[in-house]
Symmetry: C2
Subunit: 476 residues, 2 copies
């Protein structure tokens, strides 16, 4: 080939140019899925990601983002989003809240919103020695409620299977207690009697209340997601169903395939199916089909704070989530939506709530949670990375003297806005035993956002590394 | 044929039976559109219609509804609605509000909701002398915000035409005043500059505020309807557009077909088109395509109360509405959605707010408003009827002595719930001149709902006649 190049440099040049142009046409677009359970920090993450890119003008702020370090980033602008019928991601509102005299965290996600960025950059010299022009990468980010994310596995279940799954969850004594009013009502229902829509609606409301109460107490694995955040489906009969109890499942055995026509149990089963085909399936089809890359945010620290039940539930929710995101295998997401994700970051969020030397432990803890799922994903040829980040860093780290010893501390502002200095404690490298929580509690703090004064670039931890992992190969 | 019948009675019998069965299969479903501008009483109408049918058990209450008068109505039950992703029409909630100790009017329509009724009846002897079985008619009713109803004509306009239409509306001095902040902002916008989404959003919010303020002052012809009641589109860029001013339209002449790429004016035009294809068209396609029969509710009295500007605007809104509902002609609704409506009732609502002898005038006033549109509809072979109704009657009529003379009066409860006796005045037979309002005002009262005590059947005026017109031929 080298010979050929020497013989016909112009022809070879044209070929190479064509090849590069084609590559650029294919690669000039990244569709990023920012996934995470409710409260994991998706909105803060997207706000920070947009902020880092739009405001990027010095390498000091994003040292590990190669296109910035190499001074090749020309500029980033927000552009018209691909789907105009979704909300515009409220970046500007979030920045107003974060930069006001008493900064506030951005509001959490209540529906779907989008943001598109146009990233203009100089091509790296290595590849484009024959080309000098600038290039543009389009980055689309979609934000959506974490509550809706865990509904995917429902697509592989029928009503009886889903009921059994819910009953397993309800074996947890705390959950069982919370579900008291639901159990009282559902046990009174005659499944084979003529369908009573109002009765079903009332029991569904009790089930919905149970899920909301569970969320308040730190549970995450809560289906159906629209029961917690119905969006435009508020009041629609497609949400008026609930799982059968173990006793009812035994009584109905077999009959569930051929329920009495027009009976309560037929309505319930029909609505469950309707929820799958008219709510869950379109959501994944509209959003997950087109994603190229994915961030999975996990808030391990809040789960540790809340205790064993919450931590265990987070672990379950992640298993459940990763089970449905096993790219490359013949799993449900692939069969139905054929996504083409090739890079995946697992990020433990809120890493600014612990002292720096604990961050390695936080990543180890995250990896212990993802162990089995991650192995599967790597096997399937998706490039993955685990890290601990802070999208909007609310603390500074330092050293303090205690009994003559230097100990690492955090300085930040508590929820009331008062300055505090604290040592939040050690992060375990794997899940502590249930007994551990009986003896002591984790108390990672809740912090107010940083005071920005006149600054407009959000402080962060490792957002540059995440950006580099996600985008660097598309910015060459 | 008579000979043939005598020769082969059994064959003829079978033929007739088959014919009747086929007719019943075709006719066993009515899809009723209850249309009306915002505040015209759609929710009260549907609540009453459902109530009259479900509670119907004595002819005294529905004397003009033939199936009841002939004691052929067996029973009516609410059934599972056709589309489970829309809200369930809140009939039960409305009845709770209406039957409580201090009754309240049902909440107004904020989104789409549905109700399905199964009407079981005995077939009339005339036609079914060879058949004895009962029959069932399914009645589907969809409730939706009146604000969305006037968007249909937008489908036949481009962005420039729509802008011109809006500017004509804005020539009204009162509207022009209300639109002050919008004009200030829109005049500052450089249409050919690079698109500034945030600037467009802010001006669109001012335009939206102008529409909301107009509605408060009694205007009805307010587009785009989703700007007033966005539903799930709240915050979506598809709502971030507004009409150009006359000056801008002149400056842009011609350029509107080929706007500068990426400019503000291109974004505006694209969003207007997006609104048409992604919002208006699906709404009509999903709902209006399948309707068989239609009720158009018109609140003439409130418009008279509010003065000439409001009355004139109602007239315009009805022209605009009826223009788009000219069934049978080659109008836009037909071209796009091919509805098959064959019966149409125009009903002046709130007829309980005037004394009985004024109700003829109210119907005449309504007919004067609909004059031109109605002629067109009759020509197209749709059977129409005008009437004055009260879905939920909030007054009783009586006579009172004034200066030795008997005058007709109403007895009801004012908005604070106190009993009042009043003569609301005369209803004009056609639109009074603008000067009339300068000399005197109309003051038709606002009334609280009737005290139901232990009763559960809503009192009404002429709901039986409306039911008979809409359903009698399907209940034979």
């Amino acid at each position: 080939m080298q010979t050929s190049f020497l013989q016909h440099p112009n022809i070879q040049y044209t070929k190479q140019k064509l090849k590069l142009t084609a590559a650029r046409l294919v690669n000039n677009h990244v569709n990023l899925a920012v996934t995470g359970l409710s409260g994991s920090g998706k909105t803060a993450f997207i706000t920070s990601l947009v902020n880092q890119l739009i405001e990027a003008n010095e390498a000091a702020h994003l040292p590990f983002f190669s296109v910035v370090r190499e001074s090749r980033l020309i500029g980033v602008k927000r552009d018209v989003q691909p789907n105009l019928t979704f909300s515009r991601f409220a970046y500007e509102d979030a920045m107003v809240k974060l930069t006001q005299t008493s900064p506030e965290w951005p509001s959490s996600t209540k529906g779907i919103s989008q943001v598109r960025l146009k990233i203009k950059y100089k091509k790296s010299r290595g590849l484009s020695q024959y080309l000098t022009e600038d290039a543009t990468l389009t980055l689309d980010i979609t934000d959506y409620p974490g509550e809706w994310l865990l509904d995917l596995p429902l697509l592989d279940m029928d009503y009886a299977q889903w009921s059994r799954h819910c009953q397993e969850e309800l074996n947890d004594p705390l959950r069982h207690d919370i579900a008291g009013p639901f159990f009282t009502a559902v046990n009174r229902l005659d499944l084979n009697a003529e369908g009573d829509e109002l009765a079903l609606q009332k029991i569904a409301e009790l089930y919905s209340q149970y899920l909301i109460d569970c969320q308040t107490r730190g549970y995450q694995l809560l289906q159906p997601g629209r029961f917690i955040l119905p969006g435009e489906l508020s009041g629609a009969p497609v949400l008026h169903f609930f799982p059968l109890t173990d006793v009812q499942l035994q009584q109905q055995r077999g009959d569930l395939n051929k329920p009495v026509k027009g009976s309560n149990v037929e309505l319930l089963s029909q609505r469950f199916e309707h929820y799958k085909t008219k709510v869950v399936q379109p959501f994944y089809k509209d959003h997950f089909k087109g994603f190229d890359r994915q961030v999975v945010l996990v808030d391990c620290l809040s789960a540790l704070n809340r205790g064993f039940h919450s931590y265990q539930d987070l672990q379950k929710a992640l298993d459940w989530l990763m089970g449905s995101f096993q790219y490359g295998s013949s799993n449900i997401l692939n069969r139905l939506f054929q996504p083409k994700i090739d890079k995946l970051v697992f990020a433990a969020s809120k890493a600014d709530h612990i002292t720096p030397e604990q961050q390695t432990n936080l990543v180890k803890l995250l990896e212990s949670m993802l162990h089995s799922a991650r192995k599967q994903i790597q096997f399937d040829g998706v490039s993955t990375e685990s890290t601990a980040i802070s999208a909007i860093r609310a603390s500074k780290s330092g050293l303090s003297q205690l009994n003559g010893e230097s100990i690492p501390v955090l300085q930040g502002r508590n929820e009331q806005g008062a300055s505090i200095t604290l040592f939040p404690g050690e992060v375990p490298q794997s899940c502590p035993s249930p007994d551990f929580w009986k003896q002591q509690k984790f108390e990672f703090p809740k912090l107010s956002p940083p005071l920005m004064n006149t600054q407009y670039v959000l402080p962060h931890i490792r957002m540059d590394q995440v950006l580099d992992f996600l985008l660097a190969d598309k910015l060459i």
